[in-house]
């Protein structure tokens, strides 16, 4: 199990610059893998390739992609139907993935409980608060108990309480046999829940490893508590302070 890309290049049609530039990355099975990078670094493109959303012609995509196990994607958008209720959304996304009958009911109940959205199942998804929408988004991604869970900035636009809940929930999902890839701009989130981290920019991997390895290699003395601020310093050092968009 696990994921890897080797020499992966991807260029969007009409774009002069590649979104992924000969990227090679191994994401071992189990644990939470953090993918950090400034805007336009290639995080979402990599997630889209891993999720099977992006394919390319020979001149647009090169290299190899290996994804073992079933994949669940939680996009950064609220990727559900706002006019459907939460329950209708969960049932729909379960049914299109082949769940049915008692199994579907069980899975819907389980993910609703996990996301703590049982109380709003009858409400239309479009009327939920930002935090509830994020939880519904996550719950939909868990319906089929995927072995690979791709989370693309899952905490954007939520209050601190919802963020804390989401982070705890995501951390609790990590188990042997399940790989979680987590992209974010928030260093403290990555420090809090990720076992391994890669920092990417301009479609390339700048550095990759466990948090300890990264912080030791940064050459900075680790002030206690060691994981606070240092990852952000390392990130800024590697990706520079120039604005990206």
């Amino acid at each position: 199990m696990g994921l890897s890309v080797a020499g992966l290049s991807f260029r969007y049609p009409g774009s002069a610059e590649p979104a992924l530039d000969a990227m090679s990355l191994d994401i071992p099975e189990g644990g939470v893998f953090g993918l950090l990078g400034p805007n336009g670094a290639g995080k979402t493109t990599l997630i889209s390739v891993l999720a099977g959303q992006l394919r390319g012609k020979r001149d647009e995509m090169r290299g190899s992609v290996r994804v073992e196990g079933s994949v669940g994607l939680v996009p950064q958008e609220h990727a559900f139907y706002p006019m459907l209720t939460c329950l209708e959304n969960l049932r729909f996304f379960g049914a299109v993935q082949g769940l049915g009958g008692a199994e579907l009911r069980l899975r819907v109940d389980a993910v609703a409980a996990f996301g703590r959205i049982e109380g709003v199942l009858a409400r239309r998804a479009g009327q939920l608060s930002g935090g509830l929408k994020r939880r519904l988004n996550l719950a939909i991604g868990l319906l089929t108990e995927p072995e690979v869970l791709l989370l693309d900035e899952p905490t954007v636009g939520v209050d601190p309480q919802s963020r804390a809940f989401l982070l705890e929930s995501i951390r609790s999902l990590a188990r042997p046999g399940r790989t979680i890839v987590y992209t974010s701009h928030y260093m403290e989130e990555v420090q809090a829940i990720c076992d391994r981290v890669a920092i990417i920019d301009a479609g390339r991997v700048l550095i990759s490893g466990t948090l300890d390895e990264l912080l030791q290699n940064s050459g900075e003395p680790p002030p206690p508590p060691r994981r606070q601020r240092n990852l952000e310093q390392l990130f800024m050092q590697l990706t520079s302070r120039s604005l990206r968009d």
Binding site: S48, A51, G52, Q53, L54, R55, G56, K57, E60, V71, L73, P75, Q76, E77, H78, A79, F80, Y81, P82, M83, L84, E88, R91, F92, F93, A95, V96, Q97, G98, G100, I140, T144, L150
Partner: protein, 365 residues
């Protein structure tokens, strides 16, 4: 099948909760039907307001009868050379009526009638024949006639419809094609919100996503057809217009409506896939529909168009659909009469769906 049912159910729920969009699909064509039927009722009455033309055969014995039958509403024309020629003439709606008198003792009468002629006008001519023959001593004693039968000569393309016969199917077709709006807007929202990407990542084939829209919108289109025909039967006469006569073959009408629906939905799906924004979808779908309607004899009946425009009209899918509806509603045609328009619409639907898939895969690549 379970996945397709889930897609249909989702689409149906989403559509049913878009009350304003759904209402527009029904109110808009109904309003056009009422307004245009009433506006054109004088212009299109009895074939352009000119009165129906008729002839009597045989020419030598029937000239006097023809002169007696002529009135403000019925104009006598030169009789055809033979009954076969008369039949062919009526098939084209020229003249609309031919009274064939078979000599004998007693003589028999057969009235060849253009099915496009409004029923009330046909009945009036029959009454006129009876009245004239009974009142006169022209040598034809209808009481002692062997028979007096009316034969409707089918012709799926010729003749002129009345206002209600033109406008009900025309604006119904226009309304059916406007499903392009909800189809494309829901699809663009799905793409914008990442729902489509999520479904693709869940290994839901794109072709299944397209098929998932066909069922619910077919139901909407068929409901449109039923309600617009009902408007022609009830609402239009209530407001002073002519009553729409429904055909005997409801199954053929349903077949034409279904073919039209599939073409309209496939057009909507292609627009949905091609358009990147709501604004693009509105412009491509809306303007496309209006152009097809203008060319296809929806806004202006084809028979009043210049010959070159009538030829151009044959390129519009809305004209094909109108041909199909007229073949059933106007000419009481059979399956053979609707085969060509239905096949053209179905072929178009298949081509548009293929194009939508091709555009999607090309973009995704």
């Amino acid at each position: 099948m379970g996945r397709l049912l889930a897609l249909w159910q989702k689409e149906w729920i989403a559509l049913s909760r878009d009350v304003h969009g759904l209402a527009g699909l029904f109110v808009m064509p109904a309003a056009f039907i009422v307004v245009m039927t009433l506006a054109l009722s004088d212009e299109l009455r009895a074939g352009g307001g000119r009165g129906a033309e008729f002839a009597v055969l045989p020419a030598d014995g029937g000239a006097q009868l023809a002169a007696r039958l002529a009135s403000e509403g019925f104009r006598a024309v030169e009789p055809p050379a033979s009954e076969a020629a008369a039949r062919e003439g009526v098939r084209r709606g020229q003249p609309a009526l031919v009274l064939v008198v078979a000599p004998g003792t007693p003589p028999s009468f057969r009235l060849l009638a253009d099915p496009a002629l409004p029923a009330i006008q046909l009945a009036a001519f029959q009454q006129r024949v009876l009245g004239v023959v009974l009142a006169d001593s022209l040598g034809f004693d209808l009481n002692s006639a062997a028979s007096f039968e009316v034969e409707v000569v089918g012709n799926p393309r010729g003749g002129r419809p009345s206002s209600v016969q033109q406008n009900v199917p025309a604006w119904l077709i226009f309304g059916m094609f406007f499903v392009v709006m909800p189809i494309s807007s829901l699809f663009i929202v799905e793409r914008r919100d990442g729902t489509l990407a999520r479904l693709v990542s869940q290994k839901v084939p794109f072709s299944l996503l397209l098929l998932g829209r066909i069922g619910p919108y077919c139901v909407v289109n068929l409901a449109q057809a039923a309600l617009m025909l009902l408007a022609g039967v009830t609402l239009v006469p209530w407001l002073g217009g002519e009553t729409l006569a429904l055909p005997a073959r409801g199954d053929l009408l349903a077949a034409v409506a279904l073919s039209t629906s599939l073409a309209a939905i496939a057009w909507g799906l292609l627009v949905a896939v091609c358009a990147r924004t709501m604004e693009q979808a509105t412009v491509i779908g809306g303007v496309g529909n209006i152009l097809a309607a203008a060319i296809g004899g929806i806004m202006v009946p084809r028979f009043v168009m210049a010959q070159s425009m009538q030829t151009l009209a044959d390129a519009s899918p809305m004209a094909w659909a109108l041909d199909g509806f007229h073949a059933v509603m106007l000419r009481q045609g059979g399956a053979a009469d609707i085969a060509a328009p239905c096949l053209k619409l179905l072929a178009l639907a298949a081509a548009l769906l293929g194009a939508a898939l091709w555009v999607h895969h090309r973009r995704r690549a």
